[in-house]
Amino acid sequence: MSYTIPIGPYHPALEEPVHARLITDGESITDAKVFIGYNHRGIEKLSTQRNFIQTIVLVERVCGICSHSHAFNYAQAVEACGHMNVPKRGQYIRVIMAELERLHSHYLWLGVACHLIGHDSLFMHIWDDREIVMDILEEISGNRVNYGMVTIGGSRRDIDEQKAADILRMLDKLEVSICRIRDILLADKTVAARTQGIGVLSTEDAIRIGAVGPHARASNMPVDVRIDAPYSCYDEFEFEKAVWDSCDVFARVVVRVLESVESIKIIRQALAKMPKGPINLGVKIPKVEPNEYMTRHEAPRGQLCTKVVTNGTDTNERVSIHVPTFKNAPTLAHMLRNNTVADAGLIVASIDPCFSCMDR
């Protein structure tokens, strides 16, 4: 017998609102529809009422996890409109923050995934490690969530020698731990039983629907903006794209754990090579000539696109923010089909969705 089962909109997997309507035949999902828009705050509209510095504060509130990514990419777009060159040290600090953010985002997701899989001891172990990253983010910026590290023309706070030494000490701990977590995740029978062959998104479908980021890389698409279209100072570091070809939830777990190892590599290189000098251009509230520019940034969940149109004043004419979940959420209905109702929560979570990001 066919039933329609509503899931959400309150906390179907992660603590974010989305609603899925599953058409089932017994335990099997035959069709699915996804509904979004439960957290629309009109941030793009509000950005047309604020100057560039105020907009940085605003766009950081698009997301609680990847807040730095939004500020980073918005600042890049405004700087490109105004032909500003960010000092190298400012670029390095932005990249270090971006990679720390990726680490805590991936750790958060890996923990949630382990919880949904039923491996709660690993969930606690991963979130324990995540706290180390959060402590470092707090030591650098004074905040655990919205770091306020970006300004137009560079970074707002420096990373001095003491902080750099603390980050390196933290990385030593994390590196040992993440390698152990990687080995467990790759070999554990519980993880394999709950994730392998579940929520498959083939490479062809990922390309057709336009998936991005770790979700695309787990469908064997070798895409990563940091390497394909380098920006800031990413071209000065050596790291690899984490790609996996099984196209299922297991691949999404593997990609994120491998990517965490790569992020640690990038932070180490950035700290070792960080040049001396100013961290920003010292501009307060710039006026930018009429122009437009779109920049891309590899946020923890995938490619983040920000387009800014300026009008010669200190206010935005228009800001468009297309977040990775806007590209990845349309794949959900496809992935849910032919799976069981019991796996629906895990499949929805497997794209590492941020519905608050998407709604803006």
Binding site: C305, K307, P330
Partner: protein, 130 residues
């Protein structure tokens, strides 16, 4: 540094451009729109061409062909967003359901990106400015 190139096209060129980009395997990064001077919509289709963005831009009074058939959901969701928040019509696009805004919001007038903030505040307060 990522590059950005703006190319003005006519509405008739939207579909052939999308077909060419799809055939070349270029992802559609974004469909962006804003209300420019003289109440003309400025809509741009941002394609990723290696480390560049090619921004094919068109001016319109508010009706454009849909490229959903070519770019699938990667085009359908951004087109639905522009329809809902700016009132742009995309020929052939199913807009019977809302993407972001509830049907009840502002009596179904959820086109917040083209409605002046003062009017939005007035509508939110039930038509009376306080």
């Amino acid at each position: 540094m990522q590059g950005y190139q703006k190319i003005m096209i006519s509405p008739e060129e939207i579909v052939p451009t999308a077909q060419r980009m799809r055939a070349e395997g270029r992802p559609l990064a974004m469909i962006h729109g804003y209300l420019a001077k003289e109440k003309k919509f400025n809509v741009s289709y941002e394609y990723e061409v290696d480390d560049n963005i090619e921004s094919y831009t068109v001016e319109t009074d508010g009706s454009l062909p849909s490229i959903e058939d070519i770019y699938d959901l990667a085009a359908q969701w951004p087109e639905r967003e522009l329809h809902e928040l700016m009132g742009i019509e995309f020929e052939g696009l199913d807009t019977s359901e809302r993407l972001f805004m509830p049907d009840t919001m502002l009596d179904g007038q959820g086109q917040i990106l083209v409605t002046p903030m003062k009017e939005l505040i007035k509508m939110a307060k039930g038509g009376e400015e306080k």
